[in-house]
Every structure is written in C-alpha cells, then in structure tokens.
Amino acid sequence: MKKFAVLLLVLAMVFSFAACGGEKDTQVDVEPGLLRVAMLSDMATMDVAQTTDDYFVPMNVFDRLFEVKVVGDGVTDIVPSLVDTYSAADDSVTYNFTLKEGLKFSNGSALTASDVQFTFERLLTAGGVNDDIPLEVLGAAELQAGTADTLAGFVVADDLNFSITLAAPNAGFIAELTSPAISIVDKETFSEGFGMKIEETIGSGPYKVTEWVVNDHYTLEYNENYWGTAPTATKVVVNIVPDPSTQNLMYQNGELDMIDLGELDTSIVESTYKTKYADKIITSRRVGLTYFAMNANDEYLSDINVRKAIQMAVDRDAIVAGIFNNQATVEHGIIPAGVWGYNEDITKIPYDLEAAKQLLTDAGYAEGEVTIEIAMDSTSSSGTQLVIQVIQQNLIAAGINAQIKTYDESSWLALRNSGEMDCFVATWTMDYNDPANIMYTFYGSEAKTKIRSLNYADTEVMARVAAASSIIDDDARRAEYQALEEIIVIEDAAWLPLYENTHLFAIGDRVADFTPHWAGYTNFYAIDMIMK
C-alpha cells in the first residue's frame, strides 16, 4: 500500500511537471530570406508527367506559358508568363504564340519554342499521368499510339514562335495552359534522372532545387537566371512533417514561417489561430467542391425519388457550421464558386427532412427499406470522415438505412473505378479556371461517369458536356454549362454538391505577406511569399 502511495506521488509529480512551464518566445537565428514550411508527405517525383499531386517543385522550379494571377478578392486573371504575345484564330482551333526573348533555364541554356514542343510531346509519350491537355492537340493520339513521330498540331516557326492546332475547338485552351501539368522542361539537358535527381531537373522558374533528403526535407534556392523579378524568399526549406499537430507546434514555436491550417482541425484554428494569430491568417478559397456521389446503377439509387430524398435529407448548412465552423460555403451546383462560369442563381436544393421522408413514402418505400453503403477511404481526412458520419445520420433520420464501410485507399479506388461503389464523399480541386475541368471530367462520357461510380444515364447530356468546350462565344458557352448543370443537379438529381472549403494559412513573424495559389492549393508559389 505504501508503494502505491509513492506511485501516486510520482504520478502527481509527472503531471504537475507536465502542467507547468511558462510561455516564452524563442529567438531562433534564421538566415534572412529563408522560408521554412512543412508538408505532410514527401514528393514522389519532381516530374510533372508522373504526378498530379506533387506540384510544389513544378510550380516553383518551372514556368508555364500562362499563369493565373489573383487580382482581387476572389477575382483572377490569366496572364502570359513565358509567352510574350499570342493570338487565337476565331475558330479556337489554332493558337499562335511568341515567347519572351532571352529566356534561360537555370543551367544557362536558352528556352526556345522547341523546348515547349518537347514538353508537349514528352507528356504524351512518357506514359505519365498528365497527358489530358496535350491530347487535345491535333495528332496527339497518333503520336501516343506510335503511328506518328511528331506532334502534327505543334509547329515551331523559329526559336520564339510556334503554333498549336487542336483536334477540336476549345475556347478554354489558354486557361488549361496555366495548369502546372504544362511546365516547360529543357529539351537539351533532359535525361533519365529528370524528376528524381536534383541536378538533372532543370527548369526556368524562380527557383532551383539544391537539396532533396527523401522523407526529411528539400531545399529550393533562387535561380539567378530567372527572367522575372527576384523573390524575397531566396531559399525555401520544405520540411516533411507527417503529423499536422506537430506542424501546429512547430509554427507556434517559431520553427515554421507558414502553416497550412487546412490540415488542422477547425476547432484548433478557431481556438488558437483565430485568437492568438488572428492577424497572421491568410484566407483563400479552395476552388473546387466536395460532393456526395450517388451511383445510378444501384438498386435504390437508380430511382430518382431516392436521389431527390437524399438531396433534401442532408443538412449541408449544419455540416458547414458544425464541422467547419463556417470555414466553408455550401455549394449548390457542379461548377464551384471562384471558377469562370459559376452560377450564383442555380436552383438551390433545400434541406427538408419531412419532404424527403414523404418522397420516400410516396415512392412506396417502407422506413429503413432503402439501403445504401457509403464507402469511406480510411486515409481520408478526419474532416471528410466526420462529414460522412453526419450524412449517415441525416440519411438514417430520413428513414434510409445508410451504412458506412471503410476501405483502405487502394481498395477504395479500385472499387470506385470499377463503377460499383454505392456512395462516397470526395473533393475535386480545380486544375485550371474553366468549367470544363470539372464538367468534362465527371460527365464528359460514359467511361468518365463510370470511373467515378456515377453511372450517369443520359448520354445526350453527356454529349452536350463534351461539345460545350468548343463553343467559341464565352457567353454561349457559359450558358450551356449552366443549363447542363441545372439538368444534372436539379432535374436528374444525379449530383449532391456539399460545400467548398475555405483554405486558411497562417504566416509567421518573418513573413510580410502571402498570396496563396488561386485555387487554394496547398502548394503555393514561393515567389508570392513576401519576406520581411
């Protein structure tokens, strides 16, 4: 018993020690111009042909022909980057470009039109994951199939001038060229080690990679050959810190100059950041949306009444308020806010539990008869997992027997790609600022709706989605997309939009200002980070 008393004493000591300790500021000597940030996981490659996630190096080490610039609150503009001037033919099929003069890669070799050509051809032939945009160019299919040696639609006139001819008209092509996927690489020095070895990954952007310790950190330093204004952050160290709460502590400890608050629970953002660091928070729209997918091939979900009931049963306002502390906005369509073509006036799905119940009863379903399975990816963020749980409760309240089943990431993907998944919650973030990016990806063809387990049935609508990108007149194109959106969401009740997140960052004392990526990516342009 005496032993036990001593143990208690020891315990008390440990916890009192844990509880004590005063706050004080750490004065760490950091070299000027050094930007310290953290990412949850290391990049798999620096080669944009091989990744759709690891865009940090492509965005900062490479340049694109055009960039999206944030010109005001939620207002963006497409500006030429490597391109000096360009012109589009009236049919939106052929585009002529002139590059800026005197462009150089970080190794000193000149950036010419043939490097752009090489970039396009390589994306098609490298067997990578980012061939969507080059595939639109005339002759892309032949090049990829091996029946042609060159990309027919890409014509190099001289070092500065080239033209691109598309297979079909696309008014959004220039917007697409801002995608990090079209990062221009150097034809002369391109090698086997591209993307994996820092000395062989050469770009023309403001930075070059000088160090990459896998799973630990990588370092970007100012590229003296950069054609634009020099960044104030002359050196960027990206630490790999897999745990968000550790990142949180590191930021508070002054070990990070910027933290991505999107990885932290909203309650922490609310209790810590909105109080202690309120003036440090940078807000950005995460352009894209989280949606609830309903598989039209499912026994119950094939009934539009069930889909409509589900649409009305989910309390999206409560989700946005309860889980995200209003750090999100409810979405009503497919084209998210912040994207060109967003329709503020789309018919809104109401939250009406009673109407949902009534609809099911009227359709002849008994309470609990409708059974659906919501598939959850075990690696999805805790926020998404909570959302799924709330939806489940909403549906149960409406008399729908909703079950959550957890899958590991690869099983989840395999099931979804097979078109057999009942329901799931996922988020789409825009790659470029054009409705085609989401409309075509989800509803562009039968195959595309199948791979997302939507199995949308109306082939006519899908044909119209595919054709919409070739409408040259912007107003007509916008009207067509909005009409299609209304059909899919409201008439067919095929889609349940949930919300668009707001992406918060907090900057440290050493940072003066920061402009996040226009679509609120976690990856950012380090040149837009203004150091003190």
């Binding site: 759709t52 799973n215 790999i240 897999p242 590191m250 990431e409 690869s410 395999a414 791979i451």
Partner: protein, 307 residues
C-alpha cells in the same frame, strides 16, 4: 568457444532465411492493388497492368520469390511504389537516423536504468528505492506515445528547451531518445535491482567486503559485473523492443527513420518498401542478438570454458 559461436552463426543464418520467407509470404496475401494506389486518380486499367508488369507483380509467386531473395542477397530490395526510389536508398537514408535514435535511447535507458537499479538496490526498501521503482513501473506501464506526447508538450512546447520535431542535429534527438529509452529504462532498472540484490547475497561479495572493499567498490568491481550478465541479455532483447518503439517515436517526433518508413509503407501499401524495411530491421536485430551472445561468451568465463 569458436565452435559454439560457429553454431550460433549457423542458427542465425537459418533464422534470417526464415524471416525472409515469412515476410515474403505475409505480404503476398495482401488485398488491394498497390499499383492502383500508387497511380491514384488518373490510372486506367492499361496503365496499371503496364506498371504491374514493370514491377514484376504479374509473375507467379515463386518467380517473384526468387527475384526477391536473389535481390535481397545483393542488397536490392526493389523500388518503392510510392517514392519511386530504390528501397535500399531509402533504407540507407533513414538507417542512420534510427541508429542515432536507438543508440541515444539505449544510452538513456542503460544509464538511467542501471544507475537507478544500483541506487534502489543499495537503499533496498528505502525511500529512494520506492521512488525509483515507482518510476520504473511507470516506465514499463506508460505507452511510448504517451511519454513522447508529454515530453513534446512540456520540454519542447511549453519550456522551449528542445525542438519539437525532427531535424539533423543531435539536439533534435534528445527528446525522442528519452521517450524511447524511458520504457526500457524501467525494465532495466527493475532487472538491475533484482539481479544486483541477488548477487549481493553471494558469498564472494562477503569475500570482497572482508578484503576491505568499500560498498561502492564492491558493487562496481564485483557485483555489477556479475549482475550485468542477465542485464546484458536483456539489453540485446531490448534492441528489438527499441526498434518497435522507434516506430511510434519516429512518427510522433517526425524523425525520418526506419520505423516511420514502415508506417509510411503500410499507409501507402508500398509492399517493396515494407518488405525491405521489415527484413532489414529484423536482420539487424538478429545480428544484434548474435553479437550480444558472443559478448556474453567473452564476459562470462564459465561459458567460455563449457564451449
């Protein structure tokens, strides 16, 4: 002696082969298509098939096993699905960090454990004994992650004495080492105390005292050496549990070590990486035990004679 060491080496080889086989077969019955994960959003069936072929996943299991074994013998553990790098390279990169962590943790554990054990044995049933044994029991009973979190909170976050997360400098390894060593320190303290108490009952301790040795002299020169034999065995066993704990410590403190590599490999369903990590670590433990055995033979003349 040489003969016994030789037979130990023989046994060790058998164990290593067994370990390699077990890992291989455990990981081939895995659900989920790793390639699909690796390619994530944009993969179509053709791409998956092509990459599977590149990685040799379409071959029959015995061919895969042969590739795996011959590769492992050459130190080639394949290429990580997720990180696109040779597993060997990743292992060699993380290995020094884990070694640093494990060595520091072992130092913490042994120094604290042995000292606390000695003091406790000295003051048997006294106040210090109770305090130390209380702490050691706490050490054995506290989950590693709890110690790690509390240390991170107090020392790094509240007091700002040490950095919160990983890094290269030795300073960054102090907290993780304490978190990891704490657990072992508890069991080492308990064992040191009990063996020391046992050894102090031995007649030769009386002999040493009768010679005029001081209490400290008796403990250090006569008792400790005998008491350390079982403790040494335990230390070898601790290597295994240290590496187990390193998985958690490295995750909490964000150290780029082998343990975190294993966790990453699991969450990324990165079979070559997981295979390589576990094989590498286990072989390390087996070799560590071999060394400890040989050391034991050298330290204890009685065994030396029998051999």
């Amino acid at each position: 002696m040489l003969k016994s060491i030789a037979s130990r080496i023989g046994q060790t080889l058998i164990v290593i082969v067994g370990v390699a086989m077990l890992i291989f077969f455990l990981l081939r019955i895995v659900p989920g298509n790793a390639v699909a994960t690796m390619m994530s959003e944009h993969a179509d069936a053709a791409t998956i098939a092509r990459i599977s072929a590149e990685l040799g996943l379409d071959k029959p299991w015995y061919v895969q096993f042969w590739i795996y074994i011959t590769g492992a013998l050459h130190g080639d553990f394949g290429t990580s699905y997720a990180l696109h790098r040779p597993v060997k390279e990743l292992l060699l990169l993380s290995f020094p960090n884990t070694v640093k962590l494990a060595v520091l943790a072992a130092l913490v554990a042994w120094i604290i454990g042995v000292l606390a054990g000695i003091v406790a044995a000295q003051k048997k049933n006294g106040f210090l004994d109770r305090i130390f044994m209380g702490f050691s029991l706490l050490g054995v009973s506290m989950p590693v992650f709890m110690v790690a979190m509390i240390l991170q909170y107090t020392i790094a976050y509240k007091l700002h004495w040490l950095p919160i997360s990983g890094g290269d400098s030795l300073k960054c390894f102090i907290l993780p080492a304490i978190a990891l060593g704490w657990n072992s320190a508890g069991s080492i303290a308990r064992l040191t105390r009990s063996t020391l108490l046992e050894v102090l009952q031995e007649d030769y301790i009386d002999t040493a005292r009768a010679k005029g040795r001081s209490q400290m002299g008796v403990i250090v020169l006569h008792a400790l050496r005998n008491a350390m034999l079982p403790v040494l065995t335990m230390m070898a066993l601790q290597l295994s549990s240290l590496l187990s704990g390193a998985v958690i410590t490295e995750t909490v403190f964000g150290i780029n070590g082998i343990g975190r590599l294993a966790v990453d490999a699991i969450s990324g369903r990165d079979i070559p990486l997981l295979q390589g990590t576990v094989l590498f670590t286990t072989v390390l433990v087996v070799l560590g035990n071999l060394v400890a055995d040989c050391l034991y033979t050298v330290l204890d003349p009685r065994i030396r004679k029998e051999a």
